[in-house]
């Protein structure tokens, strides 16, 4: 059985990836969350879907490097890892981050620093084994800072640049690094945006893309694919045009 590890297993995208994995074949799954009860519920659901899979639950502090190291060491000691999906994050409110430095700090930590620390902690044992895939969920928001969410965007930008460097470092090893850039997706995290009428991709569709992208080991991809074109335009807009946009 393949061993898949999901960091941030209660995130809707991660949960749907897990559903697709267990549907395809029984797997060993290690689910890591912050909230034990919620993570257990995800595990129970997956066990009903796939009684042959072996689903484990762990909790960890996501903001503390020591805790992250301990968690990852524990996981890799249990069984060699084939895929780790680092999926956690919160869509922080830009206004709050501007008003409150503590909120700003927390948003940068959880969306930027924390995923990077997890990836780094997994890299060492996986490089030693010369095997596996590290997939990190970034965001289109990380491609260009804009006034309505640049704190979140900056954290995701950190993840992007980090993944790029890691890909460079591991290019000649058996370990693949995959960076996923989802556009706005219909998840609990975005329910406010949805209520405001923004069009969003379904989480099922995005999960399908992610599972496929991870299997093929694509270094970077957007989901839905249309965002690649949109972001190409957004990134190349001259500043005098961009600054006039209310986005």
């Amino acid at each position: 059985m393949q061993h898949m590890v999901i960091i941030g297993a209660t995130s809707a995208m991660a949960e749907h990836c897990a559903r697709l994995w267990v549907q395809a074949a029984p797997v060993r799954l290690t689910l890591v969350g912050r909230d034990e009860a919620r993570t257990r519920r995800v595990a129970d659901d997956l066990r009903v879907r796939s009684p042959q899979s072996d689903v484990q639950v762990m909790t960890s502090d996501f903001a503390d490097a020591t805790a992250i190291q301990r968690t990852v060491s524990h996981i890799v000691a249990q069984a060699a890892v084939d895929v780790v999906l680092i999926a956690h994050g919160v869509l922080s409110d830009q206004g709050t981050c501007q008003d409150d430095l503590l909120a700003c700090d927390a948003a940068l930590q959880i969306n930027g620093v924390s995923p990077v620390l997890f990836a780094e902690a997994f890299a060492k044992p996986m490089v030693a084994a010369n095997h596996g895939t590290i997939a990190i969920i970034g965001s289109v928001a990380g491609d260009r800072g804009r006034k309505t969410n640049y704190v979140y965007g900056a954290a995701k930008g950190l993840v992007s640049r980090y993944a790029q460097g890691m890909q460079h470092r591991l290019a000649h090893t058996g370990v693949k690094v995959v960076l996923v850039k989802p556009g706005p997706t219909d998840t609990p995290m975005t329910s406010d945006l949805k209520a405001k009428g923004q069009k969003m991709a379904s989480v099922e569709q995005v999960a399908k893309d992610i599972v496929k992208g991870i299997a093929s080991g694509k270094p970077v991809f957007y989901t839905p694919g249309i965002w690649q074109i949109i972001m190409l335009v957004v990134m190349h807009l001259p500043r005098f045009v961009f600054n006039k946009l209310n986005i």
């Binding site: 519920r41 009903v48 009684p51 609990p188 329910s191």
Partner: protein
């Protein structure tokens, strides 16, 4: 605020939508945003799932399975799980939902709140006959555990309770064993209602699924197609090796993107010009298929599920569905009178479904199924003309001591509702005061 429509697309009013995703938070959300109403997958036709300009609690985020016992077939899951997800997961493992309606794209909570029925009502009853218990969140912030022994009254009010007793958070369902995803089917054309009833009576004992389609434009000579089916056991299915290839092809098809009605046509595509030829063609086509056959349960039971958004073909004004049940005694006359009224009005129905219900009372206080014959008709919304026709149909149903189905209704008058549902006052005692819908205001005053 967000515009929300039900399946009939008769309105598109703004709602304050709250997405429920965490089952331990449901009661808190209800307490904080009330009065409101649960909304499942919006597959009800009229206003039973709407609360215009008020709160709507979306339940499809509550989509987790919780436990399954492979020895007994008992499934515990959250109420926003779609019936299709249950079927696709468990049919390959030899278990199936005992009752499903004509679409699987509905939630467990919606199936309970309307106590839905299927083509096998005469054999196994309605959805609620297989619900062992539920957990119900109330707007007071409490969560109650209901079952048939400890809390029979609130259970009976919640089953078929139109979402008015609280929000169902989780449910325990009894699945049944199936040997294969295949059905052995037989298709029989019939002429006239007498023949329909003969076929129905002759089939109820030996056939689990029965349903018929009727050409409601043919008037006195009402003709139709009767379909009946039985599940195939594993050895029966195994004896037909060609099924494997069909199944593979079917799965390929269902797991690729379904077809979708790409836009709302400016005018209803269902009109006098299209209806008559359609009904004729459909009749001739089905007649060609008469005889025995084998079918996968999905296309047989949910023929429209692969045509997404088919409800858009009725154009921007939407459509009504009118479903009644009248007792068997006098049933034939009542159905004939309804068909005559439709033929006389010139308002055709694209899809007229005629079926007998078995001889059993449903457990819910406001459950729709009762012994008798049920006729379901779709009418494009042409304003006054359509409403007048339905008034005439009401008179026939009232006279025959029948009732209309709330899952489909958007306009029945209060007296018909009260006459059709004699357990209403018993039900009202169990309502949650923080819940209200467009329908409850229309039919119950609050």
């Amino acid at each position: 605020m967000k515009p929300v429509s039900a399946w009939g697309r008769l309105s598109n009013d703004l709602h304050d939508v709250h997405v429920l995703t965490d089952r331990s938070h449901v009661a808190t959300v209800l307490a904080a945003h009330q009065p409101g109403l649960a909304f499942g997958n919006g597959r009800s036709y009229g206003d039973v799932c709407l609360n215009p300009h008020g709160n709507l609690w979306h339940t499809t985020g509550l989509n987790k399975f919780m436990a399954f016992d492979d020895a007994t077939g008992r499934l515990v899951c959250e109420a926003g799980v779609l019936l299709r997800d249950i079927q696709r997961l468990f049919v390959p493992r030899g278990w199936m939902l005992p009752v499903t309606p004509g679409t699987q794209l509905i939630t467990v909570g919606g199936a309970i709140a309307n106590d839905v029925h299927g083509k096998n009502h005469h054999a196994v009853g309605s959805f609620g006959d297989h619900v062992l218990g539920v957990s119900l969140a109330r707007t007071t912030g409490e969560v109650l555990s209901l079952d048939w022994t400890q809390t029979p009254a609130l259970m009976g009010a919640t089953l078929g309770g139109l979402g008015l007793t609280g929000v169902i958070v989780t449910a325990e369902l009894q699945l049944r064993r199936v040997g294969s995803p295949w059905l052995r089917t037989e298709t029989l054309p019939y002429q006239g209602l007498a023949e329909f009833f003969e076929l129905a009576d002759a089939s109820e004992h030996d056939w689990e699924h029965t349903v018929s389609w009727i050409d409601c434009l043919a008037g006195q000579t009402a003709r139709g197609i009767f379909m009946r089916a039985n599940p195939m056991s594993a050895p029966q299915a195994a004896a037909m090796p060609s099924l494997k290839a069909v199944l593979a092809a079917h799965q390929q098809k269902t797991h690729s993107q379904p077809l979708r009605m790409p836009f709302v046509p400016p005018l209803s595509l269902v009109n006098g010009l299209s209806l008559k030829p359609f009904n004729m063609a459909y009749y001739e086509l089905q007649k060609l298929k008469s005889g025995f056959d084998v079918a996968h349960y999905e296309p047989f039971s949910y023929p429209l599920d692969n045509l997404q958004d088919w409800n858009r073909m009725y154009g921007p004004r939407g459509f009504y569905q009118y479903q009644s049940v009248v007792p068997r005694e006098g049933g034939q006359l009542a159905v004939q009178a309804m068909l005559d009224a439709i033929a006389a009005s010139g308002e055709g129905s694209f899809l007229a479904v005629l079926k007998t219900f078995g001889n059993r009372e449903a457990k819910g206080m406001l459950s729709f199924p009762e012994p008798g014959v049920t006729l379901a008709l779709d009418f494009p919304n042409r304003g006054q003309r359509t409403l007048q026709l339905m008034d005439r149909l009401d008179a026939i149903v009232r006279e025959a001591k029948g009732r209309l189905y709330m899952a489909k209704d958007a306009r029945m008058p209060r007296d018909l509702f009260e006459a059709g549902y004699p357990r209403l006052s018993e039900f009202l005692a169990h309502r949650d005061a923080g819940i209200s819908s467009a329908m409850s205001r229309r039919l119950m005053g609050v």
